[in-house]
Symmetry: C2
Amino acid sequence: MVEKRTPLAIEEAVRKVMNFAKNGLKEMVPIELAYGRMLAEDIVADQDVPAFDRSPYDGFAIRSEDSIHTSTENPTIFEVVGEIGAGSVYPKEVEPFQAVRIMTGAQIPEKCSAVIMLELAKEFQNEGKNYIEIKRSYKDGENISFRAEETHKGMVLAKKGMYINPGIVALLATFGYSQVPVAKKPIVGVIATGSELLEVNEALEPGKIRNSNSYMVLAQIQKAGGIPKYLGKFSDDFETCYTEVKKALEQVDILITTGGVSVGDYDYLPAIYQKLGASVLFNKIAMRPGSVTTVAQLNHKLLFGLSGNPSACYVGFELFVRPCIKTYLFNETPHLKRVRARLGENFPKPNPFTRFIRGKLLYEEENLIATPSGFDKSSAVSSLASTDALIVLPGGTRGYEKGMTVDVLLLEDREGSQWPWYDFVPSYR
Amino acid sequence: MVEKRTPLAIEEAVRKVMNFAKNGLKEMVPIELAYGRMLAEDIVADQDVPAFDRSPYDGFAIRSEDSIHTSTENPTIFEVVGEIGAGSVYPKEVEPFQAVRIMTGAQIPEKCSAVIMLELAKEFQNEGKNYIEIKRSYKDGENISFRAEETHKGMVLAKKGMYINPGIVALLATFGYSQVPVAKKPIVGVIATGSELLEVNEALEPGKIRNSNSYMVLAQIQKAGGIPKYLGKFSDDFETCYTEVKKALEQVDILITTGGVSVGDYDYLPAIYQKLGASVLFNKIAMRPGSVTTVAQLNHKLLFGLSGNPSACYVGFELFVRPCIKTYLFNETPHLKRVRARLGENFPKPNPFTRFIRGKLLYEEENLIATPSGFDKSSAVSSLASTDALIVLPGGTRGYEKGMTVDVLLLEDREGSQWPWYDFVPSYR
């Protein structure tokens, strides 16, 4: 009567899913809308930066050779023959002992080879002409930002798949990307299953709970970079459910169902997968929570059956769905970033399976401390509010003690990682 | 000719700005749109969680007292008299040595006091009736999630001003918030100044550069939680500029200008502030880059004059504008989060002023290492791409060595901090 399921190693499960993860499409958006998206192409410098020798300060451009013999005792006087605002170019040739007033960022006039900072030049007038006096010599190139000093034309400045932060927006603007090639967001559908579920705006009834998982997952989809599409609750009738899933698959790039993946009697999903002709990659994983996570694929489209238990659902999404969304977005570090931290509390109870404990990362001097978010029953919703990390405790015959170094997966990180499981942590195999 | 400006201590400058930072307004959004917003009210539990005693597993509910004498040698048999799916309630009273098949999450029938996991019950039939056999005893309350075990009605689950992450979305759904009170986003206007600026879609010209700062700042505004409004470039005519700023102030909650705050000749801003009747809070700060950041206020509306230098502009935004936007959003930790890390490279050159070096945070075992993002000329744009932290090097007569512990401000963190300057780092005063 109880369906027999063989638990798969976490690493193997992630690998099976990633075999079907694929890159999506590119689209162009105006630069104003590029923040927070993922680059669909490498960003290449279309010019040197600076594009010309320029002044890093407000001051006076001179020929450095005219200043060679200058000292406090032997000051040198230059005639100020003109000025250049930022964005303009000095049209004439600068003669010996002439200076040109120059603004920050303006192009150095030809023949000039140094800039005197405004504060170090004593300005005066004589017979209607402007002069400056300086009291030290300047080296060739002093106070000049040289052409291509920062970036050469043709250089790759940001890689395809990178998250577009404000710094990358600055790069895009500098190099003329008024339209930006970004990854198209995948549409990720969510269907809730479970006759115990009430909608958020419904009043509580005996034995029922409000549907929190779907909304949580919709937010997780957005966070991962997808477009969430809530497709509602499953009906109680098998044929209707089957039709709903079939229709949903035509509208979405990835489909998630929450609930109904346990070994309980009322679970239609296995039968639906079978009728669709979807192949089940796995339906049990050697982990807690989330052991009943099921993943299937139909024509290379992934169907995720996440547990109805809130924290199992949360963890299942982050470990399996998130990397698929990130891969769709061309990201090459699609998995949660793994760091090492000291455990902030004892975990005396041993568990044969690897556990993912919701926690909070604290910084204590230059060390990281990972502290479980209090009460951690696998159904607890409230501790998710302040969670920013999953503490990974590999299964085994012993518990864990405060101060031990453990793996932690970051939930609020932008960088991600390539493959956190296999190479580093053989115990997950 | 050179305007005399007295540099203000960073901490004092932040304090002066924060005197004028104010909370904004509340608005209601449907729960589907709440992710990523800030809570405008505390979230309070409108019910206990669980709202009823429930089963954490698929199994059989029994009266635990019936199992007292059970052992491998002395198994006990229960008659299975019914079943409860999740969301339904068992209508009858359970008699001695009766069991009810129960699904995960379903309400425990009255009189029952323990749940036998499905895997531990041996099911069999006899004369058309269903039975289970168990081989150990169960304690009162075993495998039951009790009412209010996780959350009591009336408990504050998430505080006003908190960032709404997927966990908080789950809470909102659980407690019936189909409409969510969130902070209204402030409109933050950006005007670029500088006749050297080309628009992003314009071809390069001698002496000119593309306007990258404005777009960078627009992204920083979005990142901080504001609505960016690009108001274009200043004209070259004073009266037109004045009118532009005056009009802009009517449309925005906060106004930023980039460029034109140095001591150069072509800077209209001081005159504009004067003509508006705005009071200048400061126009020079004892820091690098960003020393020429100017902040003024008019009728308690803040006007930020950020430097035209990209990294000074970036740092000026994060230190001064960001906390004002976050405060508008009710956030009580509006400043960048400060952590301690080991310096990843030597910084031999001493500087009388506190420096903010763009850098990358690396995790090496459980230690944090902050490494400068390579070439850090204050005008460098390219190193901003991978920056996720600002390394703070207080001014002084000595440089810094690799391995020293330094303060680092996190740029990709969601949590923020209350007041990172004063208490911890007296040298910034």
